[in-house]
């Protein structure tokens, strides 16, 4: 094998030659190895493709849902126009449909619920993430919070109707508003309980992930625990905490059953936070089965489209805020 390159520094003869044994067993072994690597490459490609197809299906599904909503709500969009969004009357008898009372109800209940739940979820996250990551009490608390997310929403609705509503009614009697119990406020309370686990769990794992050298450096400089939380942990985890809150909000916007049971289901515009109202999701759940006119059915589907878009817009705004917070 005289393949040395004249002007190069390395010649083929410098490389130690690998001795290939020519015994039949060895050849068989080599063939097997080749087959194996062939198979590995093939499996690798197929696995990669499967992952990609799975991902694509998700995109197709979401786009498909959006497309279905748009197509099905076309009759109502044609008949009612954009005034559907700010129309204040929802009257199936005279085919007048305005989504404003329900849009308002959805936003009011969701944001009120979020405001009520944030102190609880952040506290739980800090307690479990920083103060007591281990032990029987923190474990119990962690499991309990996770259980909150696992309880079916109809149970919350039932509990709300049986326990929470009478308490709210007493409160309303004391402060002098119409004492009906059910309404925006009761729904927000129920929703607040239901969405705590989302922000709390994400917040807890974020706080757990704060590098200990950062915290130890702060302690070494003489910082108190509160100062460490305020100046090290919260700034480090704010995008994660915010993402958790966003997740909670998404859950609150779409919750149907529990809200339907305690909101009072009226198409009138709520006068204050104690008034009965309605949300887009609960109107759809209530009226879909007996929508006996094409425009009525289509108006309900358009309500679904509006809910879909509201969720998308709020998520996009949330993403922007997270980006800004992370870049600062």
């Amino acid at each position: 094998m005289d393949t040395s390159v004249e002007n190069g520094s390395i010649t083929r003869s410098d490389i130690p030659l690998r001795v290939i044994s020519s015994s039949p067993e060895a050849i068989l072994k080599a063939k097997k190895r080749t087959r194996l690597s062939f198979r590995q490459i093939r499996t690798e490609t197929i696995f990669k493709k499967t992952l990609m197809i799975m991902g694509l299906i998700m995109i197709i599904l979401v786009l498909g849902i959006l497309l279905t909503l748009i197509v099905q709500s076309l009759p109502s969009i044609k008949a009612l126009g954009p005034s559907y969004l700010w129309g204040k009357v929802w009257n199936p008898v005279s085919d007048v449909y305005g989504a404003w009372p329900f849009l308002l109800g959805t936003l009011l209940t969701s944001f009120l619920a979020l405001a009520i739940s944030i102190p609880f979820s952040i506290s739980v996250a800090i307690f479990l993430g920083e103060y007591h990551p281990q032990g029987w009490l923190p474990n119990l608390l962690k499991d309990t919070v996770e259980l909150i997310a696992a309880v079916p929403s109809v149970i919350y609705g039932f509990w709300g109707l049986a326990v929470l509503v009478p308490i709210v009614r007493d409160l309303e009697t004391h402060i002098g508003v119409e004492p009906v119990g059910v309404g925006i406020f009761s729904s927000s309370l129920i929703l607040a309980i239901m969405i705590i686990p989302y922000a709390a769990s994400l917040g807890r794992s974020m706080i757990n992930m704060v590098p200990s050298h950062l915290k130890e450096a702060a302690y070494a400089l003489g910082a108190t625990r509160w100062e460490v939380i305020r100046s090290v942990i919260l700034p480090y985890t704010k995008s994660g905490l915010f993402a958790g809150i966003l997740l909670s909000l998404g859950r609150a916007l779409g919750e149907t059953m529990a809200v339907t049971m305690v909101i009072g289901n009226t198409s009138l515009i709520p006068k204050n936070i104690f008034s009965p109202g309605n949300t887009m999701a609960s109107v759809i759940a209530n009226e879909f089965t007996e929508a006996d006119k094409p425009v009525y059915l289509s108006a309900l589907i358009e309500l679904g489209l509006v809910l879909f878009l509201v969720t998308v817009v709020i998520n996009m705004i949330g993403k922007k805020i997270i980006d800004r917070v992370t870049n600062d």
Binding site: R35, F38, R39, R42, T43, I46, F47, K49, T50, I53, M54, L56, I57, I60, L61, G64, L67, T68, V71, Q72, L74, V89, W90, N91, P92, V93, S94, L161, A162, V165, P166, R169, E178, P179, V180, G181, V182, T260, M261, G264, N265, T266, S267, L268, P276, N278, S282, A285, N286, E287, T289, E290, A291, D292, K293, P294, Y296, L297
Partner: protein
């Protein structure tokens, strides 16, 4: 190639499954615009031995009993899907069921969606009662049509209102605020109640109108009879409307309502049957609300079975059509004995004979089926 191994085949199967899913979702999207009956092939009504019906949830307990009794004597299976009156009519329109059942006769828009004329046969009657939560009042509350309309219009806001007191002489009414409870879901019960209010109050007729879902001027909505009953039970001063059967089974207090003849009538099976003993038009599509009958309860209504007038469609056999008509005929005659124990009002003689006449008008390929 020899080296296609189980692992690879598994992966291939996954890929195939995945592509099938993609196709399914794409085709779902593409036919999504076809309306609410999309994808329902017309063959299902013709296949299998069992008759298929769908519609009113109000009828469901009675129908379950009737169909199981009929199965014992005649061996015919009936599969009834309690999906709501409106949905039952859609299913009939799509020809996926043998019969639909509805608490409201088909309206003009629903009629025009049909490809062939349909006929209505009344099978039972129900009543809507006004249940209330006034723990201090021992006597039964009396309500006049005017008071009822003003309550639900939100014009009467206190229980000691002079209008209520005038109808309930000698009863000490509390100053509790009135809370109205209505159905939040579309329902035949709401349809009967709002039809009644529209008949007795011009203001209700122009401001609200009638329908299975209306724009309620006041009050709280509850989902289903149980939702409204829940609101009534736990809100002091609450009044709402529920089905008679539900109120009886749950021992709820309900009011006597003044009928057209001026009598205050307690809702009961007897007074509902009495309400139906009136002149019934040939197509039986009549509302029993505000009945002329002197001892009839004014807020009641028929529930109908709806079938196509000509039973020859989608390759249906004469045998299947005959079975269906015999079943309905049995329901309005012998089947009526099962109504009262389940708190449904048996049909009045007038309703049965009107139903018979409609059934005889049904044809198969132009020829009458029942003699």
């Amino acid at each position: 190639m020899k080296f296609i191994l189980p692992g690879f085949r598994g992966a291939f199967a996954t890929a195939a499954l995945v592509s099938a899913c993609v196709f399914a979702s794409v085709s779902m999207v593409s036919c999504g615009g076809g309306g609410n009956a999309g994808g329902a092939d017309s063959t299902s009504a013709g296949s299998g031995d069992a008759l298929i019906g769908a519609g009113s949830s109000f009828d469901n307990p009675l129908f379950s009993k009737l169909f199981s009794e009929y199965n014992k004597t005649n061996g015919l299976k009936v599969n009834y899907q309690s999906i709501g009156s409106g949905a039952g009519i859609s299913q009939l329109t799509a020809k996926t069921v043998d019969f639909g059942a509805s608490d409201a006769p088909m309206n003009g828009k629903q009629d025009s969606a049909l490809t062939a004329p349909a006929i209505h046969i009344p099978v039972t009657a129900g009543a809507v009662v006004l249940s209330y939560n006034l723990p201090d009042i021992k006597d039964t509350l009396l309500l006049t049509p005017a008071v009822l309309a003003d309550l639900f219009l939100g014009k009467i806001t206190k229980w000691n209102d002079p209008a209520i007191a005038a109808a309930n002489k000698g009863v000490k009414l509390p100053a509790t605020p009135v809370v109205i409870a209505h159905r939040s879901d579309g329902s035949g019960t709401s349809n009967i109640f709002t039809t009644y209010l529209a008949k007795v109050s011009d203001e209700w007729n122009t401001k609200v109108g009638k329908g299975s879902a209306v724009n309620w001027p006041a009050g709280l909505g509850g989902k289903g009879n149980e939702g409204v009953a829940g609101l009534i039970k736990q809100t002091p001063g609450c009044i709402g409307y529920i089905e008679l059967a539900f109120a009886v089974q749950n021992n709820m207090a309900y009011a006597k309502v003044q009928n057209k003849g001026g009598n205050f009538i307690t809702p009961s099976i007897a007074s509902v049957t009495a309400a139906a003993n009136i002149q019934i038009p040939a197509d039986t599509k009549v509302s029993l609300t505000n009945t002329e009958a002197a001892d009839g309860y004014p807020i009641s209504g028929f529930s109908w079975v709806i079938i196509y007038k000509d039973q020859k469609y989608n390759d249906r056999s004469l045998d299947r059509a005959t079975k269906l008509l015999k079943l309905i005929s049995w329901m309005i005659h012998d089947g009526q004995q099962f109504s009262s124990p389940l708190t449904y009002a048996p049909l009045s003689p007038a309703a049965v004979s009107a139903g018979d006449a409609v059934l005889k008008s049904a044809t198969y390929d132009g020829k009458p089926i029942l003699q």
